[in-house]
């Protein structure tokens, strides 16, 4: 049983989707229990796997027992790099499913089973992407997540959502094709699709390693992943797609999709091409870091220009993707940048989840889509607002939230790698985040047009009435509980950043290999 955990993790949501297809059409009430059960099974399996990894190290799992290295064996591999990512996927998808109960009801009821089928298939895809050890399977799974997310995005009632989905389909397809081309080149050169076999062949055979075909393959794969993760200037599809879709879709996609793509990039860098080859042989590190700097600055500035809450958050994601790409490419000798990037995958996913939850609640409950609609919301919805403040502080990078520590690691990497422009960009983006969020706090605290004159006017002095309406506007516990859990997780991840980062760092090759030949 325990041996089968990786397969259970991936397949549980898929079977859930089939079950809904069979039974959910007739009676919509069975949908949620099925969704919840299968997600909980996956989450349990993910935690079990992570636990095994802590104890015994890497788990290799061969689907259906096909082990031949050059055959069609589908290998799943869970190691220190992705163990925490699958737990993150489990936690996030479960929380969002809770959050989605009411939201989905608000959609056309006809669509409820469809929504959940897509939802579960998306989860299958995400788990699969994270643990597959096969370059071609990765493509297939990326396509599964993409196709399901096109559907989820287009499901909203607004026409803009449909438009955004089409835009996303086009961009996503181009990205996937790039990736596939890259894998094709690699297959030609190495004759295998298994990541670790490719790496072994590349390492053994210097001629292959240094051939232009492999470089081109890397470039194609990188471009494909960058489109998927909305790395500036390839981000065009993201803001509309995530802000015009239903709230629960946004909560599911925004935290996970881009972050998983970043993970895929790091996985490809470590497990296919090898850091030494990338940083030393190619030496593109400076170029990519500069691209990341541009992404960070551009994302922050664009976020500053937005009036809509969700759009603003979307551009912040673009900036955060810049953080992670830059961090992964810092090529500092102790790999703090890479550790920071991986840690930020977890931390940013939680922060984004928290903020998108709140944005979803606000747009539903008080019909606040623009920043200016938030007048006085602190008083009306204290719990939601407190979680928002926490998420915002994490985005700004105030200790002890996880956002502070990811910045700490990334900046450390920047200083040790000598990339001062990256350090400056991170600080700039923190400042912009501070401005952005305190602009919101101000409106939420004051109201848009504060009364003239002093606060101690006659009408104000009754303290008791001030606090009376508290909690009346607060939404139901089914929505606030996932939100509060997320907020608590942000702080916990911050406080336990030490063990987490140590855990992640076990996945990296020993530093000496890379240090020795650093330019």
């Amino acid at each position: 049983m325990i041996d089968q955990l990786p397969a259970i993790m991936v397949l549980a949501p898929m079977f859930g989707a089939l079950m809904i297809g069979l039974f959910g059409q007739k009676d919509h009430r069975v949908c949620f229990p099925i969704v919840f059960t299968s997600l909980i099974i996956s989450l349990g399996a993910a935690i079990g796997c992570a636990n095994l990894v802590t104890k015994d190290g890497t788990i290799d799992y061969f689907m259906a027992g096909w082990e031949e290295p050059l055959g069609i064996g589908i290998q799943l591999r869970i190691d220190h790099l992705n163990a925490l990512v699958i737990v993150l996927i489990g936690v996030a998808t479960t929380l969002v499913s809770f959050f989605s109960i009411r939201r989905v009801g608000a959609l056309d009821t006809e669509k409820t089973p469809h929504f959940y089928i897509l939802y579960l298939l998306l989860c299958t895809g995400l788990y699969g992407i994270t643990i597959t050890a096969d370059a071609f399977n990765l493509f297939v799974l990326v396509e599964i997540t993409s196709l399901t997310s096109y559907g989820l995005i287009a499901m909203g009632s607004s026409r803009r959502g449909t438009h955004a989905a089409i835009n996303y389909v086009l961009m996503g397809t181009i990205g996937a094709s790039f990736y596939l081309l890259g894998v094709g080149y690699l297959y030609l050169k190495t004759g295998t699709l298994n990541m670790h076999d490719i790496q072994a062949i590349l390492q053994a055979n210097e001629e292959v390693r240094n051939s232009n075909a492999v470089i081109i393959a890397f470039l194609f794969i990188l471009m494909g992943i960058w489109i998927k993760m909305a790395f500036f200037p390839l981000h065009g599809w993201l803001p509309n797609a995530y802000s015009y879709c239903p709230s629960s879709t946004a909560c599911l996609l925004a935290p996970l999709m881009t972050k998983i793509s970043v993970y895929v990039m790091i996985r490809v860098m470590i497990s296919i091409f090898g850091l030494e080859w990338i940083f030393i042989h190619l030496g593109w590190s400076h170029l990519v870091v500069i691209l990341a700097v541009i992404a960070i600055v551009a994302g922050s500035v664009l976020a500053l220009a937005q009036r809509e809450i969700k759009k603003m958050l979307c551009y912040l994601i673009v900036a955060e993707v810049g953080y992670m790409v830059g961090g992964a490419w810092l090529s500092d000798s102790n790999m703090w940048g890479l550790s920071g990037a991986m840690y930020h995958v977890l931390s940013d996913a939680l922060m984004t989840l928290c903020l998108f939850f709140v944005a979803g609640i606000w747009s539903k409950c008080i019909d606040a889509k623009e920043i200016d609609d938030l007048e006085g919301v602190f008083k009306k919805m204290p719990i939601t607002s407190a979680c928002f403040i926490l998420g915002a502080l994490a985005m700004i990078g105030v200790p002890p939230t996880s956002g502070f520590f990811s910045k700490f690691y990334l900046i450390r990497g920047g200083i040790e790698g000598g990339h001062w422009e990256y350090v400056a960009a991170l600080l700039f983006s923190s400042l912009v985040n501070a401005v952005l969020f305190f602009r919101i706090f101000e409106i939420a605290f004051f109201g848009k047009n504060p009364p003239e004159g002093h606060g101690h006017d006659e009408e104000h002095h009754d303290d008791h009435e001030d606090l009376h309406p508290v909690l009346e506007h607060e939404v139901s516990w089914r929505v606030t509980i996932p939100l509060i859990v997320t907020a608590v997780l942000i702080v916990l991840l911050g406080l336990f950043n030490g063990p987490v980062v140590e855990f992640i760092r076990e996945a990296f090759p020993p530093t000496s290999e890379i240090v020795s030949a650093r330019p």
């Binding site: 501070a434 002095h461 030490g498 063990p499």
Partner: protein
């Protein structure tokens, strides 16, 4: 090896006011219970601080480390109490009790709105202040420093009107902006340089490191401007902006807690991160000296032209903070001792002045100095206390301000910086020039005719007048009994 004692006391002292927050919110409909919980927390906090005092005077330091906390960068959340932290904690926690009393009188006297929020955030910001005082490493220091910036924002913007909004915006953009832009890189740079050590215990973090002139200078300025609560020019304008807050906030936070946290951080950086000796060897200290000296003179000159009483006090505070920075930047034994003492001396003097400004506003609704003619005869206690506070800040006997100023001047002479010594002297004259006309106006100028009709004494409520009298007496007592302060500063400077 340092003589350390492990104890939970610093954590408890820090938590005492944090635990009051839920109580305050719980009793939001019972003003009496609400304010009693504030008091109880204040007294509890002060007791915890006092309980640590004998251990500190024994020459030991108290340490408590949360090892499981922030371990990845191997920097735990660490509390550590030494002479300097003790001194600051004593000042802050004792004055909080008085300020609570004063706040009750002030807030009720003016029938302010949202008093629950006010008291809750006040308690929160005091936790942050003690957290800074007892921080055992740079990371913990920074954690509480930011917590203080954030928890005081609702206090500054308490009135929720346009003016408060502008003030609050300036407040946060300066405090948060500088700390993100300058302090974080400085901390991380230190971290990288010192190979993962950020603790203040033992040797100074960077002492003996191979650090060139320019990196050292940038690091120093990063810290000095990053901790912009110290109000060094050009990052000072948040303080006058923050004067839109209710007066108890200006009194405790913007004369004692917040601003002193700024200078406290600068002192910590110079003594704990660089180490005084190493700091002097790097010869970057003169740059900081002159920035501080410039701030002292310019802010005093600006103060002369302010008609709004609280703004004048704010600019005076900016000048006095730079006294402290200048003292520690001189890096001689007596100058550093003087700086530390000045934290306490200035706190008592300036809080008295702010209390007076608030009392005048509560009793007569007057904010401007030009309106104060003849008011001294109606509010003899208030203006008497004002005079004592002004003497202390100017540095006249028999008030505590004289002692710290003597040490500072002595320190400047020790460093052979005659020009900087003159800065101290000139600015003392300027201090006198902007304070005593107010006293003169209040006592000797005739009141405007409209007000002559109602002669007789009419003071602010007792809850306002009592605290300000106590702090004024405190300023005088500090002149006669400075023993405790001297002992605490000697612990830090190593003098016998």
């Amino acid at each position: 090896m340092e003589n350390t004692v492990t104890s939970l006391l610093p954590v408890l002292a820090c938590l005492a006011s944090l635990l009051a927050v839920p109580l305050i919110v719980l009793f939001r409909k019972e003003p009496f219970l609400r304010e009693m919980s504030t008091f109880a927390a204040g007294i509890l906090k002060f007791t915890f601080v006092l309980m640590m005092l004998p251990i500190i005077l024994d020459g030991k330091t108290i340490v408590h480390t949360f090892t499981d906390g922030i371990g990845g960068i191997n920097v735990p959340i660490m509390f550590r109490v030494d002479g300097l932290g003790m001194l600051f904690a004593l000042v802050a926690s004792s004055l909080w009790i008085l300020t609570s009393l004063y706040a009750i009188g002030y807030m009720r006297g003016l029938k302010e709105h949202s008093q629950t929020r006010f008291f809750a955030f006040f308690a929160l910001s005091l936790s942050a202040t003690l957290g800074v005082a007892f921080a055992g490493n740079l990371l913990t220091l920074y954690l509480f420093y930011e917590m203080l910036s954030l928890s005081t924002w609702p206090l500054v913007t308490h009135h929720q009107d346009k003016e408060a909004r502008t003030g609050g915006r300036t407040y946060l953009s300066y405090l948060l902006g500088t700390s993100i832009a300058f302090a974080i890189p400085a901390i991380i740079f230190t971290f990288v340089k010192a190979d993962g050590d950020l603790s203040f215990a033992g040797e100074a973090i960077l002492a003996g490191q191979d650090l060139g002139y320019w990196p050292a200078l940038f690091l120093l300025l990063g810290f000095a401007f990053g901790f912009s609560k110290a109000g060094m020019m050009p990052f000072h304008s948040w303080l006058p902006g923050a004067m839109v807050a209710p007066t108890p906030v200006s009194a405790l936070l913007h004369a004692v807690a917040v601003v002193k946290v700024g200078v406290f951080c600068v002192i910590r950086v110079i003594t704990g991160v660089f180490g005084v000796e190493f700091f002097k060897d790097l010869s970057v200290n003169l740059v900081l000296c002159w920035i501080a000296a410039f701030t002292v003179l310019v802010s005093s000159l600006i103060a002369l032209s302010q008609d709004n009483l609280k703004r004048r006090l704010a600019f005076s505070t900016i000048g006095q903070l730079s006294y402290i920075v200048l003292g520690v930047a001189l890096a001689t034994q007596h100058a550093v001792a003087g700086s530390m003492m000045h934290i306490a001396m200035h706190a008592f003097g300036k809080i008295t002045l702010f209390f007076c400004a608030g009392a005048i506003f509560v009793a007569y609704g007057k904010k401007y100095i030009s309106q104060l003619d003849g008011l001294g005869r109606k509010m003899p206690f208030t203006f008497g206390a004002f005079a004592i506070g002004a003497m202390s800040v100017t540095g006249l006997p028999p008030t505590g301000g004289l002692l710290s100023k003597i040490y500072l001047v002595w320190g400047a002479a020790e460093a052979h910086q005659i020009a900087l010594l003159c800065v101290y002297l000139i600015s003392s004259i300027l201090n006198g020039a902007y304070f005593f006309p107010i006293v003169y106006r209040a006592f000797f100028k005739p009141a405007p005719e409209a007000e002559i009709a109602t002669p007789g004494v009419k003071e602010a409520p007792l809850a306002c007048v009592l605290p300000l009298s106590i702090t004024a007496v405190g300023s005088v007592l500090l002149f006669f009994f400075p023993g405790l302060l001297l002992e605490l500063t000697n612990l830090m400077t190593g003098a016998k």
